[in-house]
């Protein structure tokens, strides 16, 4: 009897480690899902990608890659993994509906990439500040948009563009400096003298009364905020 129990135990142990590659993939996938659930999407993606490379014929890693890429705002990559999952999953797999919904969500987006010269120009898309160039979104809403690039010492540049469903838009924005250097304008020297007088006066007043320093104001309306006070 003891021999029979031992034999069953050995067989069970062999079955558990029958495919070490699948076991390793499962470990990566479990780590990836755990990272996904605590909101660490970059960490999750790395683990799930490792699982996917080990068992590329399995459907589930493609599903988790797609879920993670949508969280990372990259529908462009997610689409491929959604399709890969759907190709591999059985028709009756209940997760197909989830992936179809995800594909529907991503179908409303396209890819947008913006580079600027000089680099690191401040970008506003549809009057909202989105950060510094270069900018990339793999899930940008379809439709007509406008981008404005601004950099110190350069003239702002505005460009209209349209993102199509599943399409890719790449913009290279080259900002130009003002045509006439400030110092070469006829009014520069008189203005400099005048400004110096005003600044000197302001400093004298400031030292006497110690009021708060004045910074240029800001004006905001329905289209956004811009420099310039009342």
């Amino acid at each position: 009897m003891r021999a029979v129990v031992l034999a069953i135990g050995v067989l069970a142990a062999r079955a558990a480690s029958a495919d070490p590659v699948e076991d390793a993939a499962q470990v990566h996938l479990d780590r990836g899902v755990a990272a996904f659930e605590r909101g660490d999407y970059l960490g999750a993606h790395a683990e799930i990608e490792a699982a996917n490379k080990l068992v590329p014929a399995k459907a589930n890693p493609y599903r988790w890659l797609a879920l993670t890429e949508v969280q990372l705002g990259d529908c462009a990559r997610a689409r491929g993994n959604i399709d890969a999952f759907l190709e591999r999953a059985a028709d009756a797999d209940p997760r197909r509906a989830e992936m179809l919904r995800l594909r529907e969500l991503c179908s409303r987006t396209g890819t947008l990439a913006i580079r600027t010269t000089p680099g690191a120009a401040q970008l506003r898309i549809d009057n909202s500040l989105v950060g510094l160039a270069p900018y990339r979104s793999g899930s940008f809403a379809v439709g007509a948009h406008t981008v404005v690039a601004e950099a110190p010492g350069f003239q702002p540049l505005q460009r209209a563009f349209t993102v199509a469903a599943g399409g890719a838009v790449e913009l290279d924005l080259v900002l130009r400096r003002p045509r006439t250097p400030l110092a070469r304008r006829w009014w520069f020297v008189p203005a400099l003298v005048g400004a110096a007088a005003v600044v000197t006066g302001a400093i004298v007043l400031a030292m006497r009364d110690e009021p708060a320093s004045l910074l240029p104001g800001v004006t905001c309306d329905a289209s956004g905020c811009r420099p310039g006070g009342p």
Binding site: V70, V199, P211, S213, L215, P216, G224, G229, P230
Partner: protein, 227 residues
């Protein structure tokens, strides 16, 4: 730990310049001071007005360092009483020295003076979403993203902001529950980021898509959408 944010109307600072003196419409005179920051060369303002949000910087036109306190103006085109939230970050040579927040309600042609105190930069985790007062300066009913210690508003929470342990804070969904299969902005019938679009599954946010330009709440039965 929540910090108490002081929004103190400025009481007749006789010697301070009034940049709103010549304003034609509604205007806020914003006085920025600090007990920990002496001088800055750039003031970054994150302004939330009504359902609009923008970030802008102001500095001396000649460049250079300016000592605190400083005064600047916010002229706003408002036609009805509008909630205005301001988060300021004082910078010197690109580094953030301090942040502070103030908010008020502004009506047509109204002039308001606000005082904003810069405190040492937040210790919040970059990339995390926080309700104002939870690890970073800001309005308690607004969700902010921590960006290198600077709060950047994600949007105002119509039903209040929910502080959550271990995960990002989020705008509360309110009394209604979302319908499975529908798309909703965070804070509209489900807990989440007001600048993200979610798919509702079983009354909760299931799938999320960031909206770089903000999320628009549509009239039912239409889905919300990214602007």
């Amino acid at each position: 730990m929540r910090r108490v944010l002081l929004l103190v109307p400025v009481i007749a600072c006789g010697d301070d310049p009034d940049p709103c003196a010549t304003a034609a419409g509604a205007c806020i005179t914003l006085r920025v001071e600090s007990s920990t920051v002496d001088a800055i060369d750039l003031l970054e303002l994150d302004i939330l007005y009504g359902d609009r949000h923008d970030t802008i910087t102001t500095a001396l036109e000649t460049g250079g360092v300016v000592e605190l306190p400083i005064v600047t103006s916010l002229a706003l085109d408002v036609t009805t009483p509008t909630e205005v939230g301001v988060v300021a970050a004082g910078k010197l040579s690109g580094g953030v020295l301090g942040t502070g927040a103030a908010s008020t309600t502004l009506d047509t042609n109204q002039r308001i003076a606000l005082e904003l105190v810069l405190a040492p930069r937040s210790t919040c985790e970059t990339g995390g979403d926080y309700c104002g007062g939870d690890e970073l300066a800001g309005d308690a009913d607004t969700l902010y993203r921590c960006t290198d210690g600077v709060p950047v508003a994600r949007g105002r929470c119509v039903h209040g902001c929910t502080v959550r342990d271990g995960i990002d804070d989020g705008c509360a969904g309110g009394p209604m529950t979302c319908v499975t299969g529908g798309f909703y902005c965070g804070g509209n019938e489900l807990v989440g980021d007001p600048a993200s679009l979610y798919r509702c599954e079983g009354g909760q946010a299931a799938l999320r898509m960031m909206c770089p330009n903000g999320c628009v709440i549509a009239e039912p039965p239409n889905d919300d959408f990214c602007r």
